[in-house]
Point group: C2
Chain length 204, copies 2
Amino acid sequence: MGLAERKERDKAELKELILDAAKKILLKNGQEGLSIRKIATTVEYSPATIYLYFKDKDEILHELMEMGFMLMNKYMVQAFGETDPVKRIHSIGNAYVKFGLENKDWYDLMFNSDKPMKHIEKCMEDWDEGMAMFNFLTITCREAIQQLGLKDLEDRILALQLWSCVHGLVNLAQSERLEIVERNQTKELISKTLDSMLVSIFKK
Amino acid sequence: MGLAERKERDKAELKELILDAAKKILLKNGQEGLSIRKIATTVEYSPATIYLYFKDKDEILHELMEMGFMLMNKYMVQAFGETDPVKRIHSIGNAYVKFGLENKDWYDLMFNSDKPMKHIEKCMEDWDEGMAMFNFLTITCREAIQQLGLKDLEDRILALQLWSCVHGLVNLAQSERLEIVERNQTKELISKTLDSMLVSIFKK
DNA sequence: CAAATATACTAAACAGTGTTTAGTATGTCA
DNA sequence: TGACATACTAAACACTGTTTAGTATATTTG
C-alpha cells in the first residue's frame, strides 16, 4: 500500500520528491496544467502536506525556475568556453534562442512569468541566476567593444539590445505570432534575423 | 429594480454591454482578475447568459484584443503620417514601446496571450490586426532599404529584427526582469537601447 | 381565443483551482 | 504513563470556466 511505501522514503527527501513531481507535470502538461493538487496526488500526499514543505505555489515555481537556469547553463557551455568576445556573443545568442525554442515552459518561468518573481519579492531575495546571465553578457559586450574599438557603444546598452532581440524572437515564436505573420520556416527566419542583428552591430 | 432597468436596454446592445464590462474589469483588475462571473455580475445577468452571446472566454478576449489594436493605432497616427521611411521607423518604434509600457494588459492580450489566438484557430480566422501592423513595418523597411541603398538587407528580416527588439524590451520591462537587472531609470534605458539599435542599423 | 412554439434567461451542477483550519494519529521524551 | 511534538489529512472556503435542464415570457399558428 501507499502508506507502507511512503514511510520508507526519507522525510528529508519529500521536498525533493515534490519538486520532481512538479517538474514532471510541468514538462507533461505545461505551466497551465501544473497544480498543487496534481503534485499532491503524484507524490501520494494530501494537498495540505505540500504547504508544510513550501510556503505557496510561487515558491515551487521559483525553485523550478532555478532548475531551468541550470538547464540553460548546459546550453551555454560552448559559449562559456569561447575566448573571442564577438564569437562568444554569437554563441550566447544562438544558445539562448535554441534553449528558448526547445524549452518553452522553462523559458516562460525564467523570463516571463511573474509568479517566481513574486516569491523573490516576498522573500526579499534577488534574481541571481538572471543577473548572472546578464552580467556575463555585459562583460562579453565590454570585451567586444574594446576589441573592436566601438567607443560610442555602452556595454550594458549593447547587452540589453542583444537580450531584448533574442527575448523578443523567442517570445514571438512561442506565442505563435511569428507563425501567423510568416508561415513556415520560422526557425530559419529566426536565425536569419539573429545574424542580421549581429551583422548590423559588429560589421560594416 | 434590475429587472425593469434591464428590459429597457435593447437586446442587441447586451453584447456591447458585456464587452464594456469586460474592458472595465480588464483595466481595473488585469487579465488575471477578469472572469466570466465578474462580467456577469457587472452586467447584472447570470454567468450562463454570457454564453448566449459569446462562444467562450477566448472569444471575449479576442474581441478585447481587437479593441487593443484600435488603441494602438491611436499611438501610431504620427508614424502613419511620416513620409520619410527612416524617420517613420523611429516613430513606429517609439510609439510601439510607449504603447506597450502604458498598456500592459492590452499589450499582453495582443502579443503574448495564447487565448485570443486559440479563438482565431478555432474559427479559422486570421490575426488581421497584427499582420496589418507587421506589413506596415515591412513596407516601411523596404522603403528605407531602397532610400539608403542597403542592398544586403531583406525587408521582412529587418522588420522582424525591429519588432523582436521592441517586443523584447516591452516584455522585459513588463515582467520586471529589467528593473531587477538594472534598477531605476528603466525608461531611459529602454529609449537608449532603442536608439542604439536604430543607429546600429541605419548609421555608420 | 387557445394551443404550440420560440425566445431569453437562470439555478444548479460539474470539475477544477490555491489555500487554510481544525483535528487525528503516531512517536518521543520526561 | 502522561505530556508534548511531529506528520499528516479531511473538509471547507472562495474562487474559476462551462454545461444542462428547466422556467417564465412572448410570439406565432391553428
